[in-house]
Amino acid sequence: MNFDEYLTEEFYDELFESDGKARNFVVPLVNKINSLSKRELNRKKFAAESALKQQGITFSVYGDKDGIEKIFPFDIIPRVIPGKEWYQIEKGLQQRIKALNCFIHDVYNDKQIFKDKIVPEELIYSSSCYLPQCEGLKPPKNIWIHITGTDLVRDKEGNFYVLEDNLRCPSGVSYVLENRSILKKTFPDLFQAMKVKRVSNYPDQLYETLRHLAPENNENPNIIVLSPGIYNSAYFEHAYLAQEMGVTLAQGSDLTVINDEVMLRTTKGFEKVDVIYRRIDDDFLDPSVFNPESLLGVRGLMQAYMKGNIALANAPGTGIADDKAIYAYVPQIIKYYLDEEAIIPNVPTYLCENKEDREYVLDNIKDLVVKAVDQSGGYGMLIGPKSKKKEREEFKEKIKADPRSYIAQPTLALSRSPTIVEDSIEGRHVDLRPYILYADDIFVSPGGLTRVALVKGSLVVNSSQGGGSKDTWILEEDYS
């Protein structure tokens, strides 16, 4: 099993040129894999999967009463990005996050951007992600989006685009760290040879980001991670990050609010909390303010927050900038707040709410990807070229009934990266989710999660829909 018969076909390939030659910066990697026998490569793959199982990085298959657990599929061939290209991504993400943070602050405070008619105000108030409870909110240091994970994709020419911003509770960073620790065992000699940037300091950076939120005179703030609990599919990540930072991992039932202070129930009695890295959605944070049915949150949390007695990361209300109809305005948002052109472009987006766009979408739905504006994770979407007529008709009806809730984008021929598929190596479509931390500076963790659609020809990389992941190597400099 090697690259001898590997075909890039008509796609942009992460590791190979279109003429089938390995890109110069991945030559050591390609040589290494070519030098292994099929047996050796399979053994490496097996060892990687066993390590994942041993660490319990598994998810349960819902509805299976025997509790069968599967590991998240992982491919041992890394995706590699040269340093020069990464530098542009880094700059582009810092720019975007900075502008989006200004935007969210403006939406809930001065509303200058509406007055200047850059973004239509109605778009905000008609969004299911807008939280009126956050009006007038000024979070510590005016930072709203402390931890984000932006989804990037490449097109046929190899240009990067932002696909989604994920400003609420993006998950997956634990897989970045775990994938790396596994690949260090799989290909130990390549890391130095290729000068791969390290990702292992993410937990330290995350801790500093959270610490940055605590009042400055507090020498030893009590920071916790708030998780929905062990049945949540990202529980492993919550536990992992808490463990790596050495902070308490709590669930809603461990917390209570006394005199507008958030308290942990401990064996010693109640203990005050200063900063919460919450991994539950806005809607579940506080049943007295949001969803009254929520058992995951803490009654009274929002009042404590509004009084400044507790810091939350991320701030509530940030989902407004995740709305896919708002997304279409991000290039203008960047221009408005920073007076700069967007470094990483958006995917062209049709807002079904606009009559012209809508008619185009309805006529050309077969070539487009249609998405519900307030959903993520690969849910609520239609991939035109892969859809059945019946599904397209259903979506057309949905669009006509509620145009504000849908956008459409051209179907991108996502880039591919070589992936082990049973007995051969084939190209599979990938995306990239780098993780960004916003404290005094905006830090972009070098690399991120490369998600790979394991099903041949599939464009959907989400783990809930048969996707797997790869380690992402950012090189210190171009390897040549």
Partner: protein
């Protein structure tokens, strides 16, 4: 430490100890079967294991006879028995999962491995080498103990782990004694016969005590075995040792927390009960009565621990 976390650590530790005891009991019964051949026409009693587990009522509701196959199934792989090895490992792992950020990573991994190991065996239609299976469980358990011993901070988590393990162990040792004593009673002629020695030897082996017993007493007799398992202050599975060490861990927890709690009163009661009597008077007054009273006190203590640490009300 979070109350919920303390609770999970406590039960994680108890379930691990519990499944370890079951594995030991079963494995020793196997060996017994091989050893005593002639004396009983090769028939080994399996029902004492059911009584030792304390779940005999549940067992006889669902199984007709306490033969090897049924007993092994009930104690090892029966999901509807909450105290089977399979149920215990599931509960242990579930608790470990909720505290995986607290316990050493390798310990979580070992518990996770143990879970997969037991789960895989439980799915087999035919169990070909169960003795190895039970031995491997003991090995895994020793590994988890070693990992905490070598890397866990001596903080509340450590003392809750220890407290739970020791109380569970004291309970199992008491049950074992009780059952063995009872199963021997109908055959008073056996007392101090070679067959008796084999039986009591098996009791000792099931708590890994035979070698250490020999160093202390040399000859096997039921008074001495009882004394060793109840009152020996140096043997880490004797009731006396477990209770006094559990008491130390409880005292440590209380001193870390800085608040006195009702659990300490129940712990003192338990300790007084053990220390105030020698083995001779226990046997004279009845071992069964002693074990019964001990278990009542143990349950009271368990409840007090729950109220003191895990059930914080606003």
């Amino acid at each position: 430490m979070l109350s919920r976390v303390a609770n999970s650590i406590y039960w994680l530790s108890r379930y691990l100890e519990r499944l370890d005891s079951i594995a030991r009991f079963i494995n020793v019964n196997y060996f017994l079967m091989l050893e005593k051949g002639e004396a009983t026409d090769g028939k080994t009693q399996w029902d004492p294991l059911i009584y030792a587990s304390g779940d005999h009522k549940d067992f006889f509701q669902r199984y007709k006879k306490a033969d090897e196959k049924n007993v092994i199934k009930f104690l090892s792989f029966d999901k509807t028995n909450p105290n089977s090895i399979l149920s215990c490992v599931e509960a242990a792992r579930e608790n470990a999962r909720t505290v995986r950020e607290i316990i050493p990573t390798e310990q979580w991994q070992t518990i996770n491995d143990l879970y997969h190991f037991i789960k895989d065996e439980s799915k087999k239609k035919k169990h070909s080498n169960l003795q190895d299976f039970y031995k491997k469980i003991k090995d895994y358990n020793n590994q988890t103990i070693g990992l905490t011993l070598n890397s866990q901070l001596r903080n509340q988590a450590w003392h809750f782990l220890r407290l739970a393990k020791l109380l569970e162990r004291a309970d199992k040792t008491a049950r074992l004694l009780d059952v063995k004593y009872f199963s021997l009673l109908p055959n008073l002629s056996y007392v101090d016969s070679p067959y008796d020695a084999i039986e009591w030897g098996a009791v000792l082996k099931s708590v890994n005590a035979f070698q250490m017993y020999r160093q202390t007493y040399h000859r096997v007799s039921y008074e001495n075995v009882s004394d060793f398992l109840i009152n020996n202050q140096y043997f880490p599975r004797s009731i006396c040792y477990c209770v006094s060490e559990a008491s130390k861990s409880l005292a440590e927890i209380i001193s870390i927390i800085g608040i006195n709690v009702e659990a300490s009163k129940y712990m003192d009661d338990l300790e007084t009960m053990i220390k105030s009597k020698d083995t001779k008077s226990i046997l004279r007054e009845g071992l069964h009565e002693f074990v019964d009273a001990f278990q009542v006190k143990l349950n009271e203590l368990d409840e007090a621990i729950y109220n003191s640490f895990f059930a914080l009300k606003i």
